[in-house]
Amino acid sequence: MPELQGLYDAVVNGDQKAAVRLTKEGLDAGVEPMELLSSYMIPAMDEVGRRFECEDYFVPELLLAARAMKGAMELIRPLLTASGAQPAGRVAIGTVKGDLHDIGKNLVASMLEGGGFDVLDLGADVAPEKFVDAVENKKVDLICLSALLTVTMPSMRTTIEALERAGVRDKVKVIVGGAPVTEQFAKDIRADGYGENANSAVALARKLVMAARAA
C-alpha cells in the first residue's frame, strides 16, 4: 500500500509529478478513487485554501496546487464517472463575452474541481448562449462568470438576461467574480452571489448547491 499521506502533501506542496505518481500507485493498489479524492485530495485543497486565506500562500502556490490536483483528477475522473459517483455539483464556468482573461477563471475552476465539483470549463470570451446551452443540455447546477475588465462587466448582465429569456434562470445558480466586480454589482445584475477570490467562490458554490438541492 502506498503512503497516501504523500498524496495530500503533494497537492498541498503543488508537486504535480508526485501527485500523479501517488494517485496511480494508490489506484494500482486497489484504493477506491472516491477514497483518494475525499480523504486526501479534497482535504489537501481545503488546506491550500486555508493557507491562501491566511496569506501563507499566494497566487503562484495556488496555481501549483491546482495543477497538482488537476493532474491527479485526470486519472480519477473517468473512474468516478464509470462508478456513478455523484459530484458535489455540476458547474459551468467561463470568462464572459469580450474578455480573454482566464487566469482567475482557471484558478476558480481548479479549486472547484478540488472541492469535488464536476467542472465544465467553457473557456474565455464565452457567448451567453453557451451558458444557456450548459443549463439546458449539460444540467449544470451552477454557473460561474468571470470578468477582469470594466468594459466586459456588462456581459455578465447580458448572460443572466439570456438565461432569463431562455426560461432557465430558476434552474441554475449564478455567481460572479473578477477584479472590478463587487457584491453590489452581483446584486444589481441579479446574480446569486459574488466570490471575492477562488477560495470563497468554492465555499459559496457549496452553499448555493446544497441549498438548491435541499429546496
Binding site: 497566487v59 503562484p60 495543477r67 469580450g98 470594466t150 468594459v151 477584479a179 472590478p180 477570490n197
Partner: protein, 424 residues
C-alpha cells in the same frame, strides 16, 4: 511656475503652485484612443485622426494642442519599439470597430479570424503566428500565449532573455533626439527605455518575439516564481547587467533632459491581496530594483517610477527601501490602500503619481458629481506638501463617458483655482 518646475517641486516633496497633472506620459497613465479623440472633438481642436502610440492597450497620443487645453504638466518618452516589436512610425489609417478612424504605426499589421477577432503580429511579420488578439467588438489587445513545451530537465534561462541585450546605436540616437524635443516643450519628462522591468507579466509572453522560447505562459511564469526561483533569478541577474550597462549609455546621450525613469510595471497587488509575500519580494525582486535605483541615484538627477496595481500596502516600505521615488497608480479601492493613511505614513518618502479617481467604478460608471467629489477629495488628501502628481488610477478606458472625463479635469482645475474647461 513652469510645468517642469511644478512637477519637480512635487517630486521634492515641496508644495508646488498647483497640483501637477499627467495624462499620456506613460503606458499606464494614458487614455484610450477613443477618449483622446472624443476630447479633441469636444474642444473643437483640429480634426485629425489620433495616433495609437501604445498598440496593446490602444492608447492615444495627446498632441500639443490637447495637452495645453487640459493643462498637462508631463511629457513622455516610450521605448522606441512598441510592445509588439515594431516602431511607432510610418503612420497609416485604421478603423476601430466603432468606426472611429485612427492612425497606427506602419508595421501594425492585422488580420481578422473566423471569430471576427483582430489578430496582430510580432514585429509586423505576418508570416509567423500572431502574438495579440482583440476580441470582436473589443477595445484593445491581449496576449496570445505561444508557450512551447517545457523540458523540465533542460530549461535554459537564456531562452527568457532573447528580448534583452545591449542598446543599439539607433536606439541611442532616437532617445537623444526624443529627449531633446521633450525637454524643449517645457514639461517634466518621464522616459522608459525598456529592459528594467523585472517579471512584468505584460512582457513575459514576449509579444515582440516571432518565436518566443522559455517560460512564456502567464500562469507558468507565476508558478515559476515559486517553483523555479533559481531560474527566474538567473534571468533577472543577466537582465540587470544589461539594464545597468544600457542605462549608462542612455544617460551619456540623454543626460538631465529627462526627469523621471519609468523602471518597472510588475504588479504585486491584487484587488484584495498580493501576488507574493513580502519575503518573496525581498528575495526575488528587491535586489534588482535596488541595483537599478542605486545606479540611477548615484549617476543621474532622475527620479525612479514604480507601477504596481492593486493592494500594495505591504510593499510600500520595501519599494521605498529599494529606492523608488514614485509609486503609481495608487489603487485606493484595493484592500488597505486607504488614501489618508497612505499620505500620512508614506507621503514624505514617496510621491503618489495617480490616485486621482477610480477607473474601475467611479470614472466609468459614476455620475459627473461623483467623479468631481472623488477628485476633489483625493487632491485635498494627497497634495499637501507636494509628493503628488494627479492621474487617474491607471489608463482611462474606452467607453468611459466623456462627461465624466471632463468632470475629472474640471475638478482638478477647480482644485487648482484654474479656469473651468467650459471656458477653454
Amino acid at each position: 511656475m513652469t510645468s517642469r518646475e511644478r512637477v519637480l517641486r512635487a517630486l521634492e516633496h515641496r508644495q508646488p503652485d498647483r497640483v501637477p497633472v499627467d495624462f499620456g506620459a506613460t503606458a499606464v497613465t494614458g487614455m484610450h484612443v477613443s477618449i483622446v479623440a472624443a476630447l479633441r472633438d469636444h474642444f473643437g481642436l483640429e480634426k485629425r485622426p489620433v495616433k495609437v502610440h501604445e498598440p496593446l492597450q490602444m492608447l492615444g497620443l495627446l498632441d500639443e494642442d490637447l495637452k495645453t487645453v487640459l493643462g498637462i504638466d508631463v511629457d513622455g518618452m516610450l521605448p522606441r519599439s512598441t510592445i509588439f516589436g515594431f516602431a511607432d512610425e510610418g503612420w497609416k489609417p485604421w478603423r476601430l470597430h466603432t468606426g472611429l478612424e485612427v492612425l497606427i504605426p506602419r508595421d501594425f499589421n492585422t488580420t481578422i479570424d473566423a471569430n471576427g477577432d483582430t489578430l496582430i503580429y510580432p514585429q509586423g511579420d505576418m508570416t509567423v503566428p500572431p502574438s495579440g488578439r482583440m476580441p470582436k467588438g473589443g477595445h484593445f489587445f491581449d496576449a496570445i500565449i505561444r508557450q512551447q513545451p517545457l523540458d523540465e530537465d533542460n530549461l535554459n534561462p537564456e531562452d527568457n532573455l532573447e528580448e534583452f541585450g545591449p542598446v543599439s546605436d539607433d536606439d541611442l540616437r532616437f532617445f537623444a533626439a526624443e529627449a531633446r524635443a521633450a525637454r524643449a516643450a517645457g514639461r517634466a519628462v518621464v522616459a522608459g527605455f525598456g529592459g528594467t522591468a523585472f517579471g512584468d507579466i505584460a512582457l513575459v509572453p514576449g509579444l515582440n518575439l516571432k518565436r518566443p522560447k522559455g517560460i512564456r505562459d502567464v500562469a507558468e511564469w507565476y508558478m515559476s516564481t515559486s517553483s523555479r526561483r533559481d531560474y527566474i533569478k538567473t534571468v533577472f541577474d543577466i537582465q540587470c547587467v544589461y539594464a545597468l550597462e544600457n542605462l549608462a549609455k542612455v544617460h551619456a546621450v540623454v543626460g538631465d533632459a529627462i526627469d523621471v525613469l519609468f523602471v518597472c510595471g510588475t504588479d504585486f497587488g491584487t484587488q484584495t491581496s498580493a501576488f507574493c509575500s513580502v519575503s518573496s519580494f525581498n528575495d526575488l525582486y528587491f535586489p534588482y530594483y535596488k541595483r537599478v535605483n542605486d545606479w540611477v541615484h548615484q549617476h543621474t538627477t532622475w527620479k525612479t517610477f514604480k507601477h504596481s496595481c492593486g493592494s500594495v500596502i505591504r510593499f510600500v516600505d520595501p519599494f521605498i527601501d529599494a529606492g523608488f521615488d514614485i509609486l503609481n497608480p495608487v489603487q485606493c479601492s484595493a484592500a488597505g490602500m486607504e488614501p489618508r493613511n497612505l499620505k500620512q505614513k508614506y507621503g514624505d518618502r514617496v510621491t503618489f503619481w495617480g490616485a486621482g479617481v477610480d477607473t474601475q467604478r467611479v470614472l466609468p460608471f459614476g455620475t459627473p458629481a461623483e467623479v468631481r467629489h472623488q477628485v476633489l477629495e483625493r487632491c485635498e488628501i494627497f497634495s499637501k506638501d507636494g509628493g503628488f502628481v494627479f492621474n487617474a488610477i491607471h489608463n482611462v478606458q474606452a467607453e468611459t463617458p466623456l462627461e465624466n472625463v471632463l468632470a475629472m479635469f474640471d475638478a482638478v482645475h477647480e482644485f487648482n483655482g484654474q479656469r473651468s474647461l467650459a471656458c477653454a
